[in-house]
Subunit: 178 residues, 2 copies
């Protein structure tokens, strides 16, 4: 049972340009069409939790990319597109610990937490167990940051670092709780 972050960032810690753009990710050379380990990761995930911004961004991609149930944190959203009613659920007005508890009780043990603000909210509550960060060799200089302010520092333990295409450095870290 664990909550995972699995995300790509620029060297300066941005997950998107100021307007939410991720073209700089699409421009990464990938001659062998590698998924950089994403398939293996998602196979261990029971459900995905994301914020409204990420959800609306994913909708613009056209094809729905997720094979697992998605819970969207939003007080503003009331409905989801008709083709997604079986796979997407909107969750409103719930604090994070309660939400995770409820999802775990429903059998969703391993949660993939996605989107900048959602990740930041989970980290602020120390509710992330595993951070898997892929560093893209670019300084964006501005954008949507992966990390936010924390009132206390959080120690992690290095688990694994992999290099893809001599380009992407993916490191996995596990939260070290005392």
């Amino acid at each position: 049972m664990a909550n995972y972050v699995y995300i790509a960032t620029s060297l300066d810690g941005f997950i998107a340009t100021p307007d939410g753009g991720v073209d700089w990710l699409d421009e990464i050379p990938n001659p062998e069409q590698s998924d950089f380990g994403y398939g293996e990761f998602i196979s261990h995930i029971d459900a995905i939790v994301m914020g409204r911004n990420s959800f609306e961004k994913v909708l613009t991609f056209g094809d729905w990319p997720y094979s697992k149930p998605v819970f969207v944190l939003s007080n503003a959203l009331k409905t989801v597109p008709e083709n997604l009613v079986d796979t997407v659920e909107i969750v409103s007005s719930t604090d994070i610990k309660t939400l995770v508890h409820q999802l775990n009780k429903q059998g969703y043990q391993n949660l993939y937490i996605d989107g900048g603000r959602t990740i930041q909210s989970f980290l602020a509550e120390d509710m992330i167990d595993e951070l898997i960060i892929t560093r893209v060799p670019i300084l964006l200089g501005q954008g949507i940051p992966l990390f936010g302010t924390l009132s206390n520092s959080l120690q992690f333990q290095h688990e694994k670092t992999e290099l893809f295409n001599n380009l992407l450095v993916k490191s996995a870290y596990r939260r070290l709780r005392e």
Copy 2:
């Protein structure tokens, strides 16, 4: 001839706590007293360029740690401690490109650029050729950031990633100029 950044940061990109503290670096377990490659790096460096904040921080360490000439960027500082007059020089009111040009002309070809604001100023002028970043597995949550705002993104090329003590991930990147 190149300008290098060689620095440790938290996973969230801070090089020091808000008060400039680096105790979290001293707490890194290092049973074999490794220098994590620093000696090899500094052997290729001709001079170090840093700001006043970094200089004053280093002075508090007691022993002077640098074996190479140090240039301190400051308009406020006028003198250096007597024991350092042969190795430390204060540089005032110079723009970065002029400074680098002058140092290169004096025979200082490979420069180690240190300190948050100094690194940010060099990056803002696209005057960093090599970024060597060691990621420490901690989220500090707040502090002095390594990177600042840039008006344009900067592409880098991955050169090498090393793992030390299953703890520190050190990646070297070279600026990719078109």
